[in-house]
């Protein structure tokens, strides 16, 4: 009676072993399967949905041109909005059933924290395609985990440097961030560096309203009474929109300079409420009018096609998604080159990620030995111009990544402690809107 199930188990084990054998994997597979985790529900779907649209456009384009090394690409999605439990279960299922060659996961830093060790256990290539926490790759050395974009440290430091370069004389600052990991961590980096670079600046209010708070009236009243020179917010999505609109309606944006580190992602929605001169960041050199890329025909064609498909110009998660695909494609090609032109094994692809150089829709990105990408940062101020229903960026600066992040092996907080006011003079490239 027991024999049949045993035999089935043995047979399926044999099939599994066969599938995993190296001779099998070196042939060109029928397709390269990518599992992508992204928010398709909940507030963060403001990022997840455009990124998914981008992924579909990119895959379509790749497959029209022969896929990666001749193998067509197929993607499947996991909704991060369904919660961490569902995400990890689904992730494990796709990985252990051999249904995925690489993962792009995820948007939420909390999810990345859990996914990184999981990918390492499962020995599957994981590109953290959007999450920002710098801690994951600074604390642990991973073999299978990479990030094809910047992290919180260069993103926040570029924002601070832009402020210090363009408003050198401000005396007081207040912060209004969402009450969760990113809101707290970004302020920790910002305030630590600010103390090193401008110890005289006074922090007059640190406000962390609830994530998803429907109303900021009280915060706005308090800031109107305090009149800080600068108001910083690293909030995003509907939260940022609500805060900015309430602040603009009640005149707070006239009395204080606003610094919105993720403002680029809300610009097209809240643009008409924004006055000129608001400092806007983009978590990288992500901008649909990127001063160095906008004349590139391929770049322009993608921006227009995305606008035609979705009704809006791409925002930073779209660029992040493009980087993950560009990085993966470059790694396959590099690994194939090292493999004498033959299709690489999964491990060879992982090896190829180290020191990889690739370019998506911004400046070229280099992968460091710790799996972290070096990505430059763009910031600018809002300016109303003809031809757009929302303000565009002017007085842009692009910050070189290598100069604004700790070297491999050093933790951000230790490195920031070594900064001196001379750091403000970090050379940048400057651009006007044209």
């Amino acid at each position: 009676m027991l024999r049949r199930p045993l035999m089935i188990a043995a047979a399926s084990l044999a099939v599994l072993a066969g599938a995993a054998s190296p001779s099998f994997a070196q042939d060109k597979p029928a397709e390269i399967r990518i599992g992508i985790s992204t928010f398709l529900s909940g507030p963060a779907s403001v990022f997840g949905e455009p990124a998914k649209q981008a992924a579909e456009m990119i895959v379509e384009d790749m497959n029209r041109n022969g896929g990666i090394l001749g193998a067509p690409v197929r993607v499947s999605y996991i909704d991060e909005g369904a919660g961490l439990e569902t995400l990890t279960t689904e992730y494990k299922r796709l990985a252990t059933e051999g249904k995925v060659d690489a993962f792009f996961a995820s948007i939420s830093s909390g999810n990345c924290n859990k996914i990184a060790p999981l990918a390492e256990d499962l020995k599957v290539l994981n590109i953290m395609w959007d999450c920002g926490t710098q801690q994951i790759l600074e604390q642990t050395k991973y073999r299978y985990v990479f990030r094809t974009q910047a992290n919180a440290t260069p993103e926040v430091l570029a924002t601070l440097l832009y402020l210090l370069k363009t408003k050198p004389n401000f005396k007081t600052i207040a912060v209004v961030n969402q009450d969760y990991a990113w809101g707290r961590d970004s302020w920790a980096i910002f305030s630590q560096a600010l103390k090193k670079l401008r110890p005289d600046v006074q922090v007059v209010a640190e406000l962390f309203p609830k994530f998803g708070a429907p109303d900021y009236s009280t915060e706005v009243s308090r800031l109107l009474a305090l009149r800080p020179d600068v108001v910083l917010s690293t909030s995003w999505g509907g939260d940022l929109d609500t805060f900015v609109r309430q602040a603009a309606q009640r005149g707070l944006m006239r009395s204080s300079t606003f610094v919105l580190a993720l403002g680029e992602s809300s610009l097209q929605r809240i643009g008409k409420d924004l006055p000129d001169g608001v400092i806007i960041g983009a978590r990288g050199d992500h901008y649909f009018l990127h001063p160095e890329q906008r004349d590139n025909a391929k770049f322009k064609a993608f921006m227009d096609a995305f606008k035609a498909k979705t009704g809006s110009y791409p925002i930073y998660p779209v660029f992040h998604m493009a980087q993950a695909f560009a990085g993966l494609e470059a790694a396959y090609k590099k690994a194939s080159g090292a493999n004498g032109g033959k299709f690489p094994t999964k491990d060879q692809v992982v090896d190829a990620m180290n020191g990889l150089k690739f370019q998506a829709m911004g400046r070229p990105i280099t992968m460091r030995a710790d799996g972290q990408g070096e990505e430059d940062q763009i910031l600018g101020v809002t300016r109303r111009v003809e031809g757009y229903a929302f303000p565009v960026l002017d007085d842009m600066m692009i910050f070189p990544a290598a100069k604004i992040m700790p070297p491999v092996g050093q933790k951000s907080e230790d490195w920031i402690n070594t900064l001196t006011p001379d750091f403000i003079n970090t050379p940048v490239s400057s651009f006007k809107h044209r």
Partner: protein
């Protein structure tokens, strides 16, 4: 704490309390009469906001007078209340009044999940914003600080109208008396010829309309986005539980208490802001488990 700060905190607190009351009162009414804790209340709030936004944006696009935005918001609330609220009551709730409370809770929770997804299908995930009804009323200077007339005057006024309107309706009209009779003793009311089924339907529609009205009124002040309904369930439950489930005047006072506590927290101890409604709830329930204003329940048997 300066006098100016106290004044500012009071203005902010009252404005916030008005909206909290409007959200919570519908849930309180439905629980008071029907003894059902309606988790889908949050979805009705979100649907009211979305439909109001669509109507106001549609009006704006078609070139009608912008002042029609206010009747449009009221219309949105009524449409959601009657159509969605009516459908929930007749199709689902009517079948489960005799069932266990846990099951009732699960059913309304399931409705909430479905409505969340329907809302995503219809309106997508990008935040909506309709600032016009708020911007048209302009600002008012109070204590040297600019406030919006919409939040500091209009919302508290509507909250008061709803509060006294409901009081008058329940105590001063025949329909209201009938509702109270069913609340008091459903069997006795039925035996003297009251149609309890119709009372439940109309109560639920009123409760749903109030939830949608709160959403419609909140629409010009906030980003309308996925997840906005879920937060409101928790907050209105905190208000309703602190007041004593089913107590309308109590909900108004509790909303004021929570609104003021929250705005003072922003000025004095911003770290506590998020916690204030729940701190108040915990403290009140420790001292008075039936809630601040609930009357002790008479034994039925």
């Amino acid at each position: 704490m300066s006098l100016q700060t106290i004044m500012l905190a009071v203005f902010d607190g009252v404005a916030y309390a008005a909206l909290v009351f409007l959200v919570a009162v519908g849930m309180t009414l439905v629980f008071g009469v029907m003894r059902i804790l309606n988790v889908a209340h949050g979805s009705l709030y979100a649907l009211g906001a979305y439909l109001a936004a669509s109507l106001v944006l549609g009006l704006g696009a078609s070139g009608w007078s912008p002042w029609l935005a206010y009747p449009a918001m009221a219309a949105a609330a009524a449409i959601i209340g009657v159509v969605v609220g009516g459908a929930i009551e007749t199709l689902l709730l009517q079948r489960i009044y005799a069932k266990e409370e846990a099951l009732q809770l699960l059913v309304t929770f399931a409705v909430f999940m479905m409505l969340e997804n329907i809302q995503r299908l219809v309106w997508g995930v990008q935040p909506y914003f309709v600032g016009e009804p708020l911007q048209m009323l302009g600002n008012i200077e109070l204590g040297g600080i600019a406030y919006t007339r919409y939040q500091t005057l209009l919302l508290p006024a509507v909250a008061l109208i709803v509060l006294f309107g409901l009081r008058f309706f329940l105590r001063g009209t025949l329909t209201g008396q009938v509702i109270l009779a069913v609340t008091e003793d459903r069997e006795a009311a039925t035996s003297i010829g009251v149609n309890a089924r119709r009372v439940f339907l109309s109560t639920f529609i009123i409760g749903a309309t109030l939830a949608a009205l709160a959403g419609a009124l909140a629409a010009p002040t906030t980003s309308i986005q996925p997840g906005m309904g879920a937060d409101m369930i928790v907050l209105s439950f905190a208000v309703a539980a602190t007041a004593g489930l089913g107590n309308i005047e109590g909900s108004a006072l509790t909303a004021l208490l929570i609104g003021l506590a929250r705005s003072f927290a922003v000025y004095i101890a911003p770290e506590l802001e998020v916690l204030t409604p729940y701190l108040i709830m915990v403290i009140v329930l420790l001292v008075r488990p039936q809630g601040l204003f609930a009357r002790p329940e008479a034994r039925r048997i």
